[in-house]
């Protein structure tokens, strides 16, 4: 074996192992993050964390019930504002539409998807907070809702496009007109994919902090109705982690564990649900 060949072969082995190392480092980051959060946050996770309001500054204990409820309210608003527009827009792209309009919408959706979340916060601030002159749950919900639209729209479109042509032809052959075909054949056939898209989009905005800082703001108490500033899990984690108190830091770890748990469990369940068989068996 010549020296050159030996060199090439050893280079081969070294470089290929290096690529394996790169993959291993990347992937292990997730397990590391998860493990570290469990180790740090797990011990401070108690029942009162879920049921109590934050304790006054300087006092030990308390919980984040208001932040959890606040996050749920914000997600509810995001669903109300974002999902219908994304869903119907996706139907438009896949089923109606001419030449220019779908191109424009698709391009805009991809663009909006890439807009930094803090800029979306400014947008919601300008749209809602400035006219109303105060921070509110509504403003936060709208910020998250706008962020949900592009993802839901593109997802809906791609799952609708995957519905086999024969199903559409079948429903036309039975005398259905186009909207009937869409509403009772195509949408149900794609419903599983569309639902996963919606859930993934919501899981993504559930962890967003930046657009909430100056829309939903924060609140150490319950936020009744939709018109007042509200606390939310991501913002509380940010405030507590950067705050000066030891007790706050412990609570931030616990809240981080809850948030990460929710996001990861949703992602895993939804993706598993999506890959388990095709959606068309039922129709």
């Amino acid at each position: 074996m010549s020296i050159r060949l030996a060199w090439r072969k050893s280079l081969n082995v070294v470089m290929l192992s290096l690529t394996g190392l790169c993959a291993a480092i990347t992937v292990s980051a997730l397990f590391f993050i998860l493990g570290y959060l469990m180790w740090n946050g797990g011990k401070d996770l108690s029942w009162s964390f879920f049921t109590h309001l934050p304790a006054p500054v300087g006092e030990e204990g308390g919980g984040m019930a208001n932040a959890i409820v606040g996050s749920l309210k914000l997600l509810f608003l995001a669903t109300i504002f974002g999902v219908p527009i994304g869903l119907l827009g996706g139907v438009y792209l896949a089923e109606f539409g001419g030449r220019t309009m779908p191109f424009l919408v698709r391009y805009t959706a991809d663009l909006m998807n890439g807009v930094p979340s803090i800029v979306m916060g400014i947008f919601a601030y300008a749209l809602v907070v400035m006219p109303m002159h105060h921070f509110s749950t509504l403003a936060g919900g709208i910020a998250l809702g706008i962020m949900v639209i592009p993802t839901v729209l593109r997802n809906t479109e791609s799952f609708l496009r995957d519905v086999p042509r024969s199903l559409r032809e079948g429903s036309f052959a039975l005398g259905a007109n186009k909207w009937r075909m869409i509403a009772s054949v195509v949408l149900p056939a794609a419903s599983r994919g569309i639902l996963t898209g919606v859930l993934l989009a919501l899981a993504r905005v559930a962890g967003e902090t930046a657009p909430l800082i100056f829309t939903a703001f924060g609140n150490r108490y319950w936020s009744p109705g939709w018109n007042q500033p509200t606390s939310s899990l991501p913002v509380v984690i940010y405030t507590y982690a950067t705050g000066p108190y030891e007790d706050w830091h412990r609570q931030a770890w616990a809240a981080g564990l809850v948030l990460l748990g929710l996001v990861l469990v949703t992602n895993i369940l939804v993706r598993a649900f999506l890959t388990r068989g095709t959606a068309y068996e039922r129709t």
């Binding site: 480092i25 990347t26 119907l88 991809d110 890439g114 749209l127 005398g175 962890g207 100056f214 940010y238």
Partner: protein
């Protein structure tokens, strides 16, 4: 309506084919209109976003002009606003992040696309996708309590001892600063580089690999000299996409960068980024000029990510014939 078979309609309708036709067309038109309105809403929102950013930043734009980007005084009390330290911080942290994330991500993608058995490859990609879903505030949390102390006590002194002759690695070790923010960003964007690069590598035709191997190339040579060059435009695309993410990333950076508007050659120095100054000062900005200067920063960030995303999508589209709907979100 050519597909709607009139002849198959029930007989009581055939007496009034005209009304039947009109009724059906009407329903379809309404459905068309409703979905069109939804799609148009998105367009409207995008236009409104640009409009608001432009109009609300008007005061700062007319007062400072281009000087806004070239001066480095940020003094809300005196009404002097220069964005240079923030732009500098954003660019430096993103550059550090890319330097770390691109080799890691592309290397990992090569392993997943070329070497790993399909099952392993898809489950590792799944984990990487999950990593991309971790909220940014969680990265910030780990950054503050884990990375910052390690940087202060171990990594920064070690870098100073070995590479301290470079101006990049001089100065006191605070733990926070450009380098720490760059490392956190790197961990956050690796999954994007990895999954998009893997897609474009997998899109390279199998024949090319076989031809290279058939000519006696080793596995690494066929990968590095044939497959990677064939996919390079798409890999550039994934890098631009990751860069756009890094530029706009807010929370994790805000928590570890030090929040101090200064320009320093040392990576150990605390700094500031566009997104973090928005996160920190927006809700307490008093006065129209202050707010308008912050919104102009938002506009800058928007334009930067807009251009980069557009470029990235174009490059990825060129390499994968699969269309534009496959990007991770």
């Amino acid at each position: 309506m050519a597909t709607t078979p009139n002849a198959a309609a029930p007989s009581d309708f055939t007496a009034h084919p005209q009304t039947l036709q009109r009724r059906k067309v009407g329903a379809d038109d309404i459905a068309h209109l409703i979905t069109l309105i939804a799609a148009a809403t998105l367009l409207l929102l995008a236009v409104l976003l640009v409009y608001q950013l432009w109009v609300l930043s008007g005061e700062a734009r007319s007062k400072f002009g281009w000087r806004f980007f070239l001066t480095s005084t940020w003094d809300p009390v005196a009404g002097e606003f220069g964005a240079l330290p923030f732009i500098y911080g954003t660019l430096v942290t993103s550059a550090v992040a890319l330097l770390i994330a691109v080799p890691l991500g592309v290397g990992g993608a090569i392993f997943l696309a070329e070497l790993a058995p399909p099952r392993l490859s898809s489950s590792l990609t799944f984990v990487s996708d999950l990593l991309a879903a971790v909220p940014s505030v969680i990265y910030g949390l780990l950054g503050v309590f884990l990375l910052v102390p390690v940087m202060r006590t171990t990594i920064q002194p070690a870098l100073k001892a070995t590479l301290g002759f470079l101006p990049l690695f001089k100065g006191p070790s605070y733990g926070i600063g450009f380098l720490t923010a760059g490392i956190v960003l790197a961990i956050m964007i690796v999954p994007f580089v990895l999954s998009v690069s893997r897609e474009v590598l997998l899109a390279v035709p199998r024949d090319q690999r076989e031809a290279a191997l058939g000519l006696g190339a080793t596995k690494w040579e066929s990968t590095w000299k044939v497959v990677v060059p064939a996919a390079r435009i798409g890999i550039f695309g994934s890098v631009f996409l990751a860069l756009a993410r890094a530029l706009g990333e807010t929370m994790a950076v805000t928590m570890v960068i030090g929040n101090n508007p200064k320009i320093a050659a040392s990576l150990f120095s605390p700094g500031y980024s566009i997104a973090s100054v928005l996160a920190n000062e927006f809700s307490e900005a008093t006065g129209n000029l202050y707010l308008s200067a912050l919104i102009e920063l938002g506009l800058v960030l928007f334009l930067l990510t807009f251009v980069l995303n557009g470029l990235a999508r174009l490059l990825i589209l060129v390499t994968t014939a699969r269309g534009s709907g496959v990007l991770p979100t």
